[in-house]
Assembly symmetry: C4
Homo-oligomer: 317 residues x 4
């Protein structure tokens, strides 16, 4: 008997759906998943390397910022070495023609740049042990820095990215003879995405037996949760029928319960043989009631056009 | 009752097979999948970066075109910098021996080339702040451009490609005591492809209750949909028995209904530990009736020969 | 009948759980899995290349040690070539200005460094066949060494690592109306880990029919063995109910039987599209009885904080 | 009725096991899978690029041969360019000090090497349009060749390889109260292989209804077909009980029927997050009857030793 009760409690706990966020995230109008797909957590007390997470940060940095960073680093390293060469005495840099301190410093600077990039014209060249040794080290550093840059550039290029754009809002629209929650996605690039699977979870605050607010999660049943080819656009549809956690919910109730529709998409990028993932969420106020998406596909002779800027367009009914 | 009707409508909708193309693609003799495996869609209104899709384009570019592009870029960048150096005054390029404008310009050009490739002989070397600074920037650009090229070349080399060739036509041939739709594939390279899975979908236009033409999709049941090792050739066979969507269809009907046989192959390239994919399709007029493929394998002593140019050969019956 | 007996023996053997370690590992207080996730085996008689396993070793080497190794190799190679150039006679190195043996040797050394890094200032340059040929070979070696370094640096950067930290101890804690074995993990970095699956195996020494000690393995049933998103922390819980191999085991019995809890985690690093794995184990003396983990998550306005240094903190009950 | 017969024929055909080799490979004592894991096929009529398959060939080439190839290419390219520079006239190479044709040619050669590696000392430097242009092109070629080499070296390093060694022979040994076919594998390196799955297929020639010899395939039922961790050694066992295709087969029968045991192993290399595959086969004369493998594992204090050179050792019974 006691055992029976144990089993039931445990069974309930096992059956409770949990996305990995726990039940305690209850409010202040936060969202679980940010619009960029990141989870809304902050790690406190990471060690320095984890906090820095240099590779990920560099890989995900926009190209312009990355280029600027490299340029700034190039300047900084050259100023550093220029100062060393200048301090060691410019008579150790054979071929310098500058006649005052400033000219000599800049010639040291450009000698450093020629060493770091291994261009080494040789008009200026190191002479004497210390300056030659520093120059040898600088050229080694240059080579390794450049090796790092090569790896990073390749990493940036080949990073798996799912080029999926989501409609700005989800809609509650008529569907067959009921209504449905729907949103729309489009494949932004001509990458061949195959075997796309969508998982949609509905999360909201509920009151438990003790009157405490806890967050619950329900996986939504979809009209179609997988497409073989995701070549253009796809409207993902959850029919609101009896048994759905949205059944007979009103807009006000969903706002009150801080409802959030969480989407996780998995597919395979055939062009680069990588699995790609994409996450998004719609909070209650991003759900429009009684509206219908406008068509995105238009036949155009031998081909079918997909009009991308109609992705978020809908007609209120 | 209303609920029952809802469920049935929704159930029908759920059961409808859809490859991700939708039901509205209805004609003008288009094909769904082009011969190169690309989907027959055109994205309208992509942003510039998506449209350009630089990495994919460079990776998929033929080697000759890629080499030519690099050479042209090399010339363009050198002309650009040559013009800058020349404008700044060739007295800032120590060592120039040219005596007229044209010779001086070309020496600036070759100085630029020596800087960009970091070969830096040093017969000509920059002197003065501005020219030295430009040269430093050019050598940095050279290094980064070369880092990019390294990444691209590796990307081109290691790109997952399924070296699968399809027979030019599919056949409707006698098979045991019925007929079957069949086509043949061959592994073009000595890559070890394992766990190859074939999915074949038959698509055609049908008329719905309202008399509108809609496109429907049926997955075809195969004699064998998976082989453990795809080392040589494989004839993929769909027996046409009762229940098959091709049962009692005539050639004329299939042409009329714009039938298309869509093939999706998945496997694992054991040599490079990549999953590889391949798609193809046969439209109605690429299906030959009453024909039989000729044999491709021939024993040759200790080894078995696979005669590749017999791939598409068939005998009319 | 005989056949029946065969089948039963074979069936028993088939049903025996085995992690791949065999049943003979019986003691001296060893552990099966070391704290770094490596298996506690030593391979005897590997061939040299397998023993060296150069790529893996270099990839897994800490950055500081790797940098030091490159620097030492750089010195060694330069000393080697310097000695060759010096032996061939410094009159083959045009431009040398040193006046004694030591100065000439160091100029040979720096000439070597300038050749290896391809900086090639040219103040010193090779003259004569042999020295020129050696220099040509050295510059080729420099380029290839640098190509290797580029590959290694990229390999080090992009190596799949699951940034998962485990609580230092597992706990036996009250759970609903029974007790449970539990331990806690945290995602150390802001990588998006998805579809994390935990497998937990309990291993202990038992006495077989003949009185011999053999090691047995039992997979533990978990409250939740998978989370869709592993964004922050996760307490993995095995409820100790009837049927559990821990049911009514005491602390003393587990120490005596050299019990070990083996954990294997699999997930997908969404940021780099790699599957990541992590292993750990708790031996009997790393299990604390009657204790409870303190909370790690704290709401902080719009975001939820995860306090990482509380990972291993527990309260004794 | 006719339909019933169709279905049965088709069902038989569907149930026929086929590894992808077909049924026609019938003899001359060939083997299906070579000892290096390659399939015993020869592709006839490949196009040139498929036949060459440059990337795969270079990636799989032994390191010594690869290094030699690079060195030879380096020489060839330099001889080529040296000949061009020499033909254009050595007065276009400023700084040449050679006094006869041979010396001048070799200085052209070393100038070429200095250009190709971008070391560019500058003692010799190009002067005049054509020679300068050729040198610019050579330095570009040098950079790109080196980019290719970088990619190839990384490809060679990171190539997925399953370091699995097989026992030289399979054994038919006593097992519980019957016999079993068994062979042994060992993990040669300290890579962590996980979730190793073994598939073993028994192939032999049989005589069909018409008296023709055809090759048939039977998947063997294994004592254990998967291990969670493959850290050391694993004996793969097929118990020969009623229903096994080896049941009551004699050694002579297996030799006569050209039996072959084909093994396919799949696992995940946790160290590099790659799936790895390995194939092997034992033909009839590589199966030893009435023998037993000697033990490979030995406890050694806190660790367990795996004695690798005992892999193929067995005792005749």
């Amino acid at each position: 008997m006691a055992k029976g009760r144990v089993s039931e409690l445990i069974r309930n706990e096992k059956e409770r759906q949990d996305l990995g966020f726990g039940t305690k995230i209850t409010g202040q109008n936060t969202r679980l998943i940010n619009k960029n797909g990141q989870f809304n957590f902050r790690l406190v007390g990471q060690d320095f390397r984890s906090k820095l997470n240099l590779y990920k940060r560099l890989i995900e940095m926009p190209w312009l910022k990355f280029s600027l960073l490299i340029f700034v680093l190039f300047l900084v390293v050259n100023f550093l070495f220029a100062t060393i060469y200048y301090s060691l005495g410019t008579h150790h840099l054979q071929g310098i023609v500058g006649t005052n301190a400033s000219e000599k410093y800049w010639e040291s600077f450009f000698f450093s740049a020629q060493t770091l990039t291994t261009v080494g014209y040789g008009r200026i060249s190191p002479i004497g042990f210390v300056t030659s040794a520093i120059a040898a080290i600088e050229s080694l550093i240059g080579l390794l820095a450049f090796a790092l840059a090569t790896g990073l550039l390749y990493g940036k290029f080949s990073r798996p990215v799912a080029f999926i754009r989501y409609s700005e809002t989800a809609l509650i629209a008529p569907y067959l003879d009921t209504t449905a929650l729907m949103f729309r996605i489009v494949n932004e690039r001509d990458h061949q995405l195959i075997d796309m699977v969508a998982i949609v979870v509905f999360s909201l605050l509920e009151t438990d037996k003790n009157g405490a607010k806890i967050r619950r999660y329900y996986t939504l049943d979809l009209e179609r949760s997988k497409v073989a080819f995701f070549a253009s656009n796809w409207t993902i549809v959850h029919p609101i029928i009896e048994g759905s956690p949205l059944w007979q919910k009103t807009e006000a109730e969903m706002l009150e319960a801080e409802a959030e529709v969480i989407i996780s998409l998995n597919g395979h990028d055939d062009s680069f043989s990588q699995s790609v993932h994409s996450r998004n969420s719609y909070i209650a106020k991003e759900i429009v009631w009684n509206a219908k998406f406008v068509a995105m596909q238009e036949p155009a002779g031998q081909v079918t056009d997909v009009i991308m800027n109609k992705l978020s367009e809908y007609d209120l009914l």
